[in-house]
């Protein structure tokens, strides 16, 4: 590590927008107010599954103050994040598929008038059978939600097999098979979706929206509005969190655009918290039948996975998540024989989609629980079993996934020693326990949904002696701090202070293309693009400085705001003087960089999903107290050790990890959307849907293990989605250690704990 001396990378920089946020001056989409702006509201269906017979909007249109009413048939173009298989329309057309689906929308001068107008819209329905669980939806004779879908209510299904699974099970020393169920959970970012649309007389559309993916929104708007992309300009103001939930176009964005075109006035459409639950795109509940075997020494022999994913009403990111789930079975352990069978089912529920750590969280829960169980049955420490099976620094899976850099073993070792796991596991009094689990995530993504082979990330840096450094990049800061990370990389490269880098991001006209902020791709992908652009700038400036200094360019370097000779101290000049000379001689100084992950694909279905340039790893130990009287589980201590490569900003990495842990803890112990049999949400609010509050959190200690991925920009990897993977099984393994009960269904509520304890007592 001696040759790596950074001046900006690895320091705790403060985010530039933080003071604005602390003063309440940061602008989010709902804070935008335009002259003549109208307020849009959405009429939503009263049935979870029904044919629409008629919609009468005449009374709503006649209400004074109402300026436009739109219905689904006015925008019949289907859209979806997977361009080959779009399933959604801006509003329902002939049929509604979940309770609360948009059927019409109103723009009025005042939100109250818009609400009143919604009541005046008459919709006649012919109800159809409602399926709120996957088994009913695929039962013989079930009515298909999507008539044009080939396989009834099976949206997608896939099989993959590597090695000789059956043979491996036969030769195993110990095999266990179990069914695990995960719950229906929402991201609960704090800012509800908000969008403002404005058309001008050139027919150009401006949109400001709380999205993670301005470029995808851009393409969807073009499709649904049936207008050229060049006439649409999407800008992302500050975004109040996303976690995947703002990772595709949402109805409010499309509806705002439709209303605005019709009224020829700006329109804002914001969601209530209930509507956020209806837009949903949260984690897929999966019923997983999993079989895992080990040999005498505890080496994993085979994994067989059969998962039934509850997808909700529409396709959304479903197929990608299905294949990600398949890919996630192969790491972070060495497994030679793997079988995957997955189905994603349409049900009459708000649609599931990408949520932090997508594809990984559910199988991780099953696999890490099983490994714990197998180890204990073998009379071995779960730590020993996991360490034995953990991948080495480099690894290629049977499915052909190349891991170029891993410090997973270090994560296990360090988290175990930090937490005192070995002294506690199996040794604490009844009611107290510790649990260990590991995980990983992709970093930089390879598979593009955007069906073109242009680079996934691009950056443009402009140096100007008057306006300074401007870094333009399509990556979108949704609160995770990507602007800061990219500015830090740019500053390090150019040898300038972090404060001097001005970032323009999240804008389809003012920043070059980027796929968006999801799947932990920004640090590696956009970071690489930024580094390439900065390198090109330096290449352009050094010859000019060389002439000025009377020295060869290849003996010069940048740093501390200067250009200097690496051999002779006195040969140096201010960086900005060289820039000025360059511009005087050649005109504007700018450079672009781009990044496309190396293309690797397996030659099997879905083989291009889950391959990533690099991977982040993490291991967790949870310590719990189970109150045997009330059934309440309290996580008291929590340790994490992560391999995110070189942390660009350690404070920020800690923040990502801590946020991940607490979010997953909510899913393990409290969170679940409940439904009535006729498809209504029972708890679409933050009173009845419980997320962790400050009072619930354990003592959390995170650490970054020494790590540097030579092929990544500044050695960095992801830190925002890997750390959510192991939390659920770490907590559940700790509960087993505490009370001897293995929970296979989430969330582990006090009622479930009491019931399990009572059942145990009876044995």
């Amino acid at each position: 590590m001696s040759d790596r001396k950074f001046s900006v990378i690895g320091t705790d920089q403060v985010r530039k927008e933080a003071p604005d946020k602390a003063r309440g001056e940061a602008i989010y989409a709902d804070d935008i107010r335009l002259p003549r702006m109208l307020h849009g509201r959405i009429k939503r269906s009263d049935y979870a599954h029904a044919r629409i017979i008629s919609i009468d909007t005449s009374a709503a249109e006649a209400l004074p103050g109402v300026k436009a009413v739109v219905v689904g048939s006015e925008a019949p173009q289907k859209y979806g994040i997977v361009p080959q298989a779009p399933t959604e329309t801006a509003m329902a057309i002939d049929k509604v598929r979940y309770h609360g689906e948009p059927v019409a929308a109103v723009a009025a001068t005042d939100p109250d008038i818009a609400e009143k107008a919604l009541d005046l819209i008459e919709v006649e329905y012919e109800p159809l059978p409602v399926y709120v669980n996957t088994h009913d939806a695929i039962a013989e004779g079930a009515v298909a939600l999507h008539e044009d879908n080939k396989y009834g209510n099976i949206a997608y299904q896939a099989r993959q097999e590597f090695g000789e699974v059956d043979k491996a099970f036969e030769e195993s020393h110990l095999v266990i098979e179990k069914t695990y169920k995960t719950s229906y959970v929402n991201h609960v970012f704090m800012e509800p979706h908000s969008a403002v649309a404005r058309f001008d007389d050139n027919g150009d559309l401006r949109m400001w929206s709380s999205t993670q993916v301005p470029h995808y929104l851009h393409t969807m708007l073009s499709k649904v509005m049936d207008m050229p992309m060049a006439k649409i300009h999407v800008t992302v103001p500050n975004v109040g969190g996303g976690f995947g939930g703002k990772g595709e176009a949402s109805n409010n964005e499309l509806i705002a655009a439709l209303l605005s075109r019709k009224a020829r006035r700006p329109v804002k459409v914001i969601y209530s918290r209930r509507e956020v639950f209806l837009q949903h795109r949260g984690r897929h509940p999966i019923e997983m039948k999993v079989k895992m075997g080990v040999d005498k020494e505890g080496y994993i022999t085979a994994i067989d996975y059969d998962g039934l994913m509850d997808g909700g009403a529409y396709g959304a990111w479903g197929i990608i998540i299905l294949f990600y789930t398949a890919a996630m079975l192969h790491l972070p352990y060495k497994v030679k024989n793997v079988r995957f069978f997955g189905r994603r089912i349409y049900t009459n529920k708000p649609t599931c989609g990408p949520m932090r750590g997508l594809g990984g969280v559910q199988p991780r829960f099953a696999l890490e629980s099983m490994m714990d169980e197998l180890a204990i049955k073998l009379g071995m420490s779960p730590y020993e079993l996991k360490l034995k099976n953990a991948i080495d620094k480099k690894h290629v899976t049977v499915s052909g996934v190349h891991v170029r850099h891993s410090e997973y073993k270090k994560c296990l070792e360090e988290v175990v020693s930090e937490s005192g796991y070995l002294d506690k596991h199996g040794k604490l009094p009844f009611g107290k326990g510790v649990g260990l689990a590991g995980g990983y995530y992709i970093s930089g993504t390879a598979y593009t949904l955007y069906m073109s082979y242009k680079p996934h990330s691009t950056a443009l840096i402009r140096l100007d002696s008057e306006s300074g450094v401007t870094l333009q990049c399509g990556a979108t800061d949704i609160g995770q701090g990507s602007n800061m990370v990219l500015a830090m990389m740019c500053a390090e490269k150019l040898g300038l202070p972090y404060e001097s880098i001005h970032v323009i991001s999240g804008d389809t006209k003012n920043a070059p293309f980027d796929l968006g902020s999801f799947a932990s791709r920004v640090t590696v992908a956009a970071g690489s693009a930024v580094c390439e652009a900065a390198d090109k700038l330096i290449e352009q400036i050094l010859p000019i400085a060389g002439v000025a200094l009377g020295c060869r360019a290849d003996q010069l370097a940048v740093g501390n705001g200067e250009i200097y000779s690496i051999y002779e101290k006195e040969i140096r000049m201010p960086f900005w003087d060289a820039v000025e000379k360059y511009i005087a001689a050649h005109g504007p100084l700018s450079a672009t960089g781009s990044y496309t992950p190396p293309r690797r694909t397996g030659d099997f279905k879905g083989g291009n999903v889950g391959h990533s340039p690099t991977y982040g790893f993490t291991a967790h130990v949870a310590e719990v107290d189970v109150d045997t009287e009330t059934g309440e589980v309290k996580v008291v201590n929590y340790n994490e050790a992560g391999d995110c490569g070189q942390p660009i900003n350690p404070l920020s990495v800690e923040g990502q990890v801590e946020g991940s842990i607490v979010m997953a803890m909510g899913q393990a112990l409290y969170e679940e959307i409940k439904m009535t049999p006729d498809g209504r949400l029972m708890n679409p609010n933050l009173h009845d849907y419980k997320v962790p509050t400050m009072r619930d959190i354990p003592n959390i200690k995170t650490l970054a293990v020494e790590s540097y991925d030579e092929d990544s920009p500044f050695g960095a990897k992801e830190a925002g989605e890997g750390p959510i993977q192991p939390t659920i099984p770490a907590i559940l393994n700790a509960i087993y250690d505490a009370i001897g009960v293995r929970f296979t269904e989430m969330p582990v509520t006090p009622e479930k704990v009491l019931a399990a304890l009572a059942a145990k007592g009876q044995e």
């Binding site: 705790d12 403060v14 985010r15 927008e17 933080a18 003071p19 946020k21 602390a22 003063r23 309440g24 001056e25 940061a26 602008i27 989010y28 709902d30 804070d31 107010r33 991201h187 609960v188 970012f189 704090m190 800012e191 509800p192 500050n238 975004v239 109040g240 969190g241 976690f243 209530s272 918290r273 949704i478 609160g479 995770q480 701090g481 404070l651 920020s652 800690e654 923040g655 990890v657 801590e658 946020g659 991940s660 842990i661 607490v662 979010m663 609010n685 933050l686 009173h687 997320v691 962790p692 509050t693 400050m694 009072r695 959190i697 959390i700």
Partner: protein, 162 residues
């Protein structure tokens, strides 16, 4: 059917035409234009809309604007008086307690009220005092650090003045 009332917000009087059913959050955000107060749920579950009324934190989405006539309302925009940031704001910035920032105004106001009542809170007291403010980004760890740091900064500030 609207009535003219006067609200004192961040030390300034505003004459406002309001309906008796208007909630404070909407008046502050839409009528007065102070959009720093956030709306995360609008039904009293998240704390994003917290403002101070006579120094006490209240949820402005559950408070009728009429009911706070004659009281002193402080929103996030009134926390820093002029160019200098308040120690609570500075602590949130320095300790990495701000990610997306949507919970931040409410958190800062709840912290301000907490430190007013209890200048040196324990960790338990902090957790108790801020339990009504939901943050989904940070996992709260850095926010607790920030509150502790703010307490230190504020005490220092107090001694400097004396």
């Amino acid at each position: 059917m609207k009535k003219i009332i006067t609200l004192n917000i961040n030390g300034d009087d505003y004459d406002l035409a309001i309906k008796p059913t208007d909630f404070l959050v909407d008046i502050v955000r839409d009528t007065v234009g102070l959009t720093g107060t956030k709306k995360g749920c609008n039904i009293g579950d998240c704390g994003a809309c917290t403002v101070l009324v006579d120094g006490r934190p209240i949820l402005s989405c559950l408070t009728l604007a009429m009911s706070v006539v004659g009281k002193k309302i402080k929103t996030i925009e009134g926390v820093a008086d002029g160019p200098e940031l308040d120690p609570v704001q500075q602590a949130f910035i320095d300790k990495g307690a701000i990610q997306c920032g949507f919970c931040t105004p409410g958190m800062i106001l709840s912290t301000t009220a907490l430190l007013e009542r209890n200048p040196a809170p324990t960790e338990e007291e902090i957790k108790h005092g801020l339990a009504g403010n939901i943050c989904r980004c940070t996992g709260y760890v850095k926010i607790i650090d920030a509150v502790k740091h703010a307490a230190v900064l504020k005490t220092k500030e107090g001694t400097d003045v004396r």
